[in-house]
Symmetry: C2
Amino acid sequence: MAPKLDGFFSQVDSMSEHFISRLRAAVAIPSVSSEAERRPEVVRMGQFLVTELKALGADVEARPLGKQPGKEHLELPPVIVARYGNDKKKRTILVYGHYDVQPAGKEDGWATEPFELTVDDKGRMFGRGSTDDKGPVLGWLNAIEAHQKIGLDFPVNLLMCFEGMEEYGSEGLDDFIKEEADKYFKDVDAICISDNYWLGTEKPCLTYGLRGCSYYSVEISGPGQDLHSGVFGGTAQEPMTDLVRMLATLVDTNGKIQIPGIADLVAPLTEEEKSIYRDIAFTMDSFHESLGSQTTIFPDKESTLMGRWRYPSLSIHGIEGAFSQPGAKTVIPAKVIGKFSIRTVPNMEPRDVDKLVFKFLDDEFKKLGSKNTLKASLQHDGKWWVASPNHWNFSAAGKAVERVWGVKPDLTREGGSIPVTLTFEQATGKNVLLLPMGSSTDAAHSINEKLDKKNYIEGVKLLGAYLHYVAEEEMVDA
Amino acid sequence: MAPKLDGFFSQVDSMSEHFISRLRAAVAIPSVSSEAERRPEVVRMGQFLVTELKALGADVEARPLGKQPGKEHLELPPVIVARYGNDKKKRTILVYGHYDVQPAGKEDGWATEPFELTVDDKGRMFGRGSTDDKGPVLGWLNAIEAHQKIGLDFPVNLLMCFEGMEEYGSEGLDDFIKEEADKYFKDVDAICISDNYWLGTEKPCLTYGLRGCSYYSVEISGPGQDLHSGVFGGTAQEPMTDLVRMLATLVDTNGKIQIPGIADLVAPLTEEEKSIYRDIAFTMDSFHESLGSQTTIFPDKESTLMGRWRYPSLSIHGIEGAFSQPGAKTVIPAKVIGKFSIRTVPNMEPRDVDKLVFKFLDDEFKKLGSKNTLKASLQHDGKWWVASPNHWNFSAAGKAVERVWGVKPDLTREGGSIPVTLTFEQATGKNVLLLPMGSSTDAAHSINEKLDKKNYIEGVKLLGAYLHYVAEEEMVDA
Ligand SMILES: [Zn+2]
Ligand SMILES: [Zn+2]
Ligand SMILES: [Zn+2]
Ligand SMILES: [Zn+2]
């Protein structure tokens, strides 16, 4: 029997300005987890959630995670956990989101102030964190509030877990989840995470797979201090020369990873799997649009989706310690640290990847014959994840999508990693669903991040509807 | 007949604290020419010189240079020109220095506040600009003041030319010098520049040659905005991948430039020239000390000096647009700009070098087979310079060094470029001498830049003594 949701939906519509104000207040808090000096803002954002959740009548706790490893002067922001409803007859759904954001500054090229939610005439709501992940997090709060306003019984017990370090490797969270698996999270029947995006701009999707991410740094040092290139150029071995030569060996222009052994770790492509990609709603045109250029590796949809979902990739992110400003500085940096990451897929075991990476870096550095010093390290990692899309958690979500958006969702995987997904699955043994709110053009992690007003408001309906379908779904696991 | 200088020398000694205060006041002005927001500080530093020079009775003018090319909202800092003495019977010596400095911040690793002159118990005066080039510039003012205090007749007419854009390519100065060659500078008999360093820490030198510097940027762009590496990694050609592969082709670990044709432009080494290097006071030990490590390209003095003075070198300085902070950011930058420079030597014509560089970059980029866009450009350049060390200007300076320091100076070349040297020579047709004040360990352009108190105070004596010897030297040109 399909749940009655029309009242809830029109209530959400009538509260849309209120929900946007809530998002505006959240975006205004620059909760950048990677910048030590902004840690108080991250904490303030957690406090904002505590206040909002309390006002909704939830039982809320801000759980401390201790000091930040390697930066012991810094306290980690707390995990905000909350329970809304405690009815033994109802299912208990755990939802996760994060309240920290990526760095952002007007000087990076934002068209608007990144920490000021700015809605344009197309209903695009620009602001850092709008889509990643403050919009989705507030979506759960909005759904609760709309139920209260209309006097509709909440269909499940909702457990919430909102962290403040996702954009900096979710420091401290894994231990917390493992610790609480049979305590705070012991009643959980299924898990829902809204922290990814539609594949395109028109069709919603449910996501059952994620790539992992192993982030490495390779440091090369030599001289005791930065040098004047006029005085020392031609007499000293320069760390920057060695570093660019090292980084150049990692991957080619077409994304082919050059580290021997990596390709052998990847699960072979079966004919059956190959056929899945044909039906996904995805066009190269819309992909070119979201990329903002035609500089794709592959000309076709299938190869592009496979390149994103089921093959590893290697990106070089930058260099710490070298000249990075506009203008012309003639310094020879004494110590430079290259940063790169590998997106991992089944069946790449992270420790095996590490071994291949470090061996490769050592071998390549030896080839240089340099007197400088190499120090390679894993900065953080998260494993890939693949779930069963035949679980009732997914079928409930599929019905909710159809009800709100009028279409069956694509079943997709994702290129990005959300390491906590795997941790929740392993710690609780329950099915995890990724239920995205935003669309492919939202530019998470880039300048001009946005969330469309429509995705936000329909997203609130979707999250609420999902909980109603979950409450009625037969408990059939595949 | 040797000039009588004992009174002048002891006067300088007795004024040393005053001279250090003058340097402290100058270092306190953060006249960083490469940072637009600090342009007012550069102007304030010029004004400081105007005030000091006026107080000494010099005729001073602050000459405007117009707008900064490419940044038309920015006014270039003025050239401060001054005349002290106008006696037709005396020689007229033009001295040049610069009052702007390299960027500096405590966060770069300075042990002290960079814009606060800090004297330690070894008499090292730490501070940005202490040795490059505020110490030497104030040296001329100090010499004048000591003459006045003791009532000693100033031996020459002194023309001064102090610019505020040296660390940003001396924008606007070339035209000014050419324009004024037969006006403000028409009486000039010889030129002295104090903007370089001793080869070591013990023995002074006179410098008759400089390498040039051609500074290039290579921009690679593709996507319309920065990308999430999870979403786009493996599907888009990444500009950073292309850039590190391009930069890796430029030079090897042992400093050998890989650009075909560059080596052919270099003047061949003669047996006679080779023999010069044997006698220069320079040890690998002291070089290792100033380098702060053993990571030299060559094991021996001669090859090292040649690598620094008479062969070209290529340094990669950094990348603009990529992630450059501590931590882990997983972004794929949409546009990255690599910066590198080539130190040039006789007989490399800058335009020939440009041609070889651009052709090489084009060829290497074609090899990548990338859909991204390459844009290479020359950011600025200055040609190499070699003068005649047999000129009376050099013999006068040699005698002054012997008188103040008790040793004959080495005749050296320099690895760094001071493009204005060549401009002065070409515009006036007069001999140019480089007369350094600081020593090899002064760390110009690095953190913890310093000038030893002894070099500063003896340097004031040296500049004064040089002018006395110049006044008596026979006008024999070699
Ligand atoms: Zn996120
Ligand atoms: Zn994110
Ligand atoms: Zn200088
Ligand atoms: Zn300098």
